[in-house]
Point group: C2
Chain length 410, copies 2
């Protein structure tokens, strides 16, 4: 597996574009993105578990059930959530417009919306965005740089409070040839266990049937997007959607084969790196902290403890304050709801051991402080002798987070 | 029931004091408090469910099991948590010193510690605090104002990041005479469901047997200290402890009697008002918000939804930003894990209806903004037609919270 330039248009047979339609009037950047596959593609996704999920999530779940799609339209600036029956009608209308412009059927078009909740989609702006995106699409035989530029426009268009666009792509050599996987994502706030206010669009030119693709997306999300948090809010719009169009001429990849596993490994790596990038660019984040919990009875128990530390406001403000206040980390572990022997707790930040046998280890305060000053570090907590282990990625809680979220709608 | 002046020394037969022993060297205020009953008293408490609970919590649980106590010593500045076997020995030593100074047995002395976790108790300072507190106790026959002043000193001594001391007392007329209930409390951060980094000492001169007293403390905590949050962290030290000494000459109060219920009502009112005061003075809090959820299948379901909204960082920053961003409130309700029909959701802030039928209600933005600008308001969420109802008290998430907690140890 090698990293290659670009994002969703790095795999063969995908084009993309991004334009500004003024959906959030105060924003000057692109807010509509379109990804198109030049061939029929398998589609699979994982979605928010929030009951108040947006109408477009309902729509995409149907598309994934059918298993095939050709296009994916995403707008930022408005989540089209808590908008009732009119919101659902707006999704159908948007898909219809995209389909008409591309000569597809509406049920070949997936839709995501991210932004403010509870405000009707401005459909005149959306219509303009759809038209603009289709007009801006490079030709199918366009040069690589034109295709790459369209992908980059799409990555910018889906951003909300993100400070940098997130794109990545890899290439994997399989026995029958080479395939690529590309992704763009947006995240920033509402980054929580079981996804976030995040959208990740993944493309691949491998041929994978819808069912194994769906299994793989789920498997990858479990060890990437579902083990991160910025705040602890699960949004109405969280979506990871993958289109696999087979244009590399390799496959179909059979689950269980060595090629499938090599592909899966690369796919999971793309999801993990993308998830980490979302946390690194979390709202107001100045730290990236990897929490690793080991010695639990099960991986699930370990994840529960890791999550409790990762979402704790007191731990996150200690990260921000660069304060090795390990009592807070131990305290959060203690209320996670997982049984362990307090006198067995051990803890490290990178190379410095803070706790042993449930109390302070011998360490120099300045060594601990030096680790906390790093922009990225690992907090390891051992709660016993069990085989269970999990990791969780989190950011700090900063003044900037409060500022961003106190003023979000304005 | 009438409010009366004072706190834990308002009921007959209780004396208290508070002195500075320098447990947290950087603090200039009192940090050791002592409450003494002049007669044997029933004792009952509720405690943190955190596995990493402090050694003094273990000690107090034993005292409550035995059912009787005479004195309660509390220090701030150090939680004596995650301190292992030496921490437990320090609790026994402290109780021994108090007992010796007062002519009691060590197992008649309850102990609480609150402050930084993981640092051994400075026992020389504690010894000085015990000695100072005993010396500062008013005489048993001292005038009311001297007894009140001792209670106020104790209320100040237990504060950590609190900005104001919390004392309250009430008087209840029962068929056989009048009894009083008094309380002091500290809270501020780590205020979470299932209590907080909080300590509440309650005294009463009513006569109540240990078992009904324990049931009442539990019942009162459920509708007061267990339905509030500032952040979502449950500390190692949370304690609500009540001493009932019967010095009013009324009772013993029999559970089920009209007198007991009148007493219980007043007791619960003291706990609820104290809990609200803790949230009002939560770390960095500039708002007090009462979340009320109704229409749930059960009270438990309603509490789960109310808690999800109350602890959401995004909701709390919206409160701070005075932004009626109801999409966030609906979103938090949606991920609470309680099944409801999204199209049934309705929402109000005080008199302004924000949502009806799962989408925006018709309201004027300036009316909603005006409510959000109030220092206290109610957010009501109706999720269906069921009989379940719950309330939850929360504060906003402000810059001040981040500042306080990023710099706590220094």
């Amino acid at each position: 597996m090698n990293a290659v330039d670009g994002g969703v248009t790095a795999p063969a047979g995908f084009r993309a574009s991004g334009v500004r339609a003024g959906i959030k009037p105060s924003s000057k950047k692109e807010d509509c993105a379109l990804i198109v596959s030049d061939a029929p593609a398998a589609v699979a996704g994982v979605f928010t578990r929030n009951l108040m999920r947006s109408a477009c999530v309902e729509w995409d779940i149907e598309r994934c059930r059918a298993g095939h799609a050709r296009a994916y339209f995403i707008n930022s600036g408005n989540a089209n959530a808590a908008t009732g029956a009119p919101g659902a009608a707006d999704v159908r209308a948007t898909a219809g417009m995209v389909a008409e412009g591309l000569g597809l059927a509406a049920d070949e078009v997936c839709i995501s919306s991210t932004g403010v909740i509870g405000v009707p989609l401005p459909m005149d702006r959306i219509a303009e965005g759809v038209k603009g995106c289709i007009a801006a699409l490079p030709d199918a035989d366009a040069a690589d740089d034109a295709r790459a530029s369209g992908g980059a426009d799409a990555a910018r268009a889906i951003m909300t409070t993100d400070t940098v666009p997130k794109e990545m792509a890899v290439e994997v050599a399989l026995s029958a040839g080479t395939v690529r996987i590309g992704a763009i994502a947006k995240g920033a706030g509402m980054i929580a266990p079981n996804m976030a206010t995040m959208i990740c669009a993944i493309t691949t030119d491998a041929a994978v049937e819808p069912k194994p693709l769906a299994d793989l997306v789920y498997r990858a999300a479990t060890v990437s997007f579902n083990q991160m948090c910025v705040d602890n809010d699960t949004s109405t719009s969280d979506t990871v959607l993958c289109l696999a169009n087979g244009r590399a001429g390799v496959g179909p990849l059979e689950p269980g084969s060595a090629d499938f596993e090599a592909f899966a490994e690369a796919f999971i790596a793309v999801c993990r790196e993308t998830a980490k990038n979302l946390v690194r660019d979390g709202e107001g984040a100045s730290k990236f902290v990897e929490i690793v919990v080991s010695g639990a009875a099960s991986d699930g128990d370990a994840k529960t403890v890791a999550r409790a530390v990762a979402v704790s406001q007191l731990c996150k403000t200690a990260f921000f304050g660069e304060d090795p206040n390990w009592g807070r980390f131990a305290c959060a572990a203690g209320y996670a709801g997982v049984a362990f022997e307090p006198g067995r707790l051990a803890m490290w930040i990178d190379e410095v051991q803070l706790m042993a046998g449930g109390q302070a280890a011998e360490y120099r305060e300045e060594d601990a402080a030096a680790v906390m000053q790093r922009p990225e570090f690992q907090l390891r907590i051992e709660i016993g002798d069990g085989p269970g282990r999990a990791e969780f990625w989190t950011s700090d809680l900063s003044h900037e987070y409060v500022t961003i979220n106190a003023d979000y709608r304005t």
